[in-house]
């Protein structure tokens, strides 16, 4: 879905308050965003489900996208804290190793596989900004709002991520 299609969807959502249209459009990006903190795809889906339901019950439209991503992030971090009480070592191992067995992208060739692997190796702060910007099409203002950082910080992290990927993916 390109940007114009997405904007059309957003207009439709804003007008008709149809959560289905909105969710179909945002769910893949939200899932990718949630996967950063989840041990499995199923856990990420649980996070997205809880966050979206909370968000939609409160807002009934998608005007404030930053709040939606902030809700996903907050729920994911809450889950990590909750899990850490029970199985602290396991949770830490998952968060720190960042090994995700299940694919996060629909990969068609080796180039894409290498690029996806490079994205997964990015530092967490850079990767979350990259995911929000590239696959969720948030503005830097929205990213800054969702993460609680300045717009300059968000933009810097994005540039660092692209620079790192460029270095890995297109070595000169």
């Amino acid at each position: 879905m390109n940007i114009k299609d997405r904007e059309k969807v957003m207009e439709n959502v804003a007008t008709h308050e149809d959560w289905k249209v909105c969710f179909r459009s945002l769910a893949p990006g939200l899932l990718l965003f949630a996967r950063q903190w989840a041990r499995s795809r199923a856990d990420a889906e649980d996070i997205v489900q809880e966050a979206f339901v909370k968000f939609w019950r409160r807002n009934h439209n998608i005007d404030n996208r930053a709040l939606l991503y902030a809700t996903v992030r907050s729920i994911a971090l809450d889950r990590i804290r909750r899990d850490s009480r029970r199985t602290r070592r396991e949770a830490e191992a998952v968060c720190e190793s960042e090994h995700v067995v299940e694919p996060q992208f629909e990969l068609t060739d080796e180039t894409q596989f290498a690029l996806a692997a490079a994205v997964e190796r990015l530092p967490h702060e850079q990767r979350e900004v990259l995911i929000m910007k590239i696959w969720n099409e948030l503005t830097f203002a929205e990213i800054a709002c969702a993460l609680g950082v300045s717009q300059n910080t968000a933009a810097s992290r994005y540039r660092y991520a692209l620079a790192a990927l460029k270095k890995i993916f297109q070595p000169q």
Binding site: A27, E45, K54
Partner: protein
């Protein structure tokens, strides 16, 4: 940012995995159903109890009550002071006698309340060498009569003013 346009283009070609149909159904069920647990609701700000505002309100109310109490105390003290300045209730013997002879009404009481005293300074009346201090009392007098047979009562109130000259002797 132009340096990164190529890598951005490659990244956008990556498509996140699709969500499962089950996730959609679960969200639909949750949105259709009632909110189950209270602690999971994100409450809009307008429904949240603003404890700070309530605290300030209570503090303001307490201050107002204290001020009202102090004001009441002062008023009652002033009243006591005025009552002390005024002469004790007295009856008018002459009037009592007249009333007894002509009608059934008998004097029941008289009060004189001095509500203002003003010192008008020294004066030398009629070329006198001895100064006099002129004091002006403003009063409110009330006279009461009562008819014991019928229980009827009559009360007359009027303002009064009294000027007192007090000789001052230089010592």
């Amino acid at each position: 940012m132009n340096d990164f346009s190529e890598i951005e283009k490659e990244l956008k070609k990556l498509r996140p995995t699709r969500t499962s149909r089950q996730l959609f159904v679960r969200v639909e069920q949750m949105l259709a159903g009632p909110e189950i647990s209270e602690h999971k609701i994100i409450r809009p700000n307008r429904f949240r109890v603003n404890w700070v505002a309530i605290g300030f309100g209570l503090a303001a109310a307490a201050v107002l009550i204290l001020l009202a109490q102090i004001s009441t105390d002062r008023t009652s003290k002033q009243r006591e002071r005025i009552a002390q300045n005024s002469p004790a209730p007295e009856t008018m013997p002459a009037l009592r006698g007249a009333q007894r002879s002509s009608s059934e009404f008998i004097p029941a009481g008289a009060t004189q309340v001095v509500y203002n005293t003003r010192d008008e300074g020294l004066q030398f009346p009629g070329g006198s060498a001895q100064p006099l201090r002129r004091l002006r009392y403003q009063t409110h007098q009330t006279w009461q009569w009562r008819n014991p047979a019928t229980g009827a009562s009559l009360r007359v109130s009027y303002p009064g003013e009294e000027i007192v000259l007090i000789p001052i002797s230089g010592q």
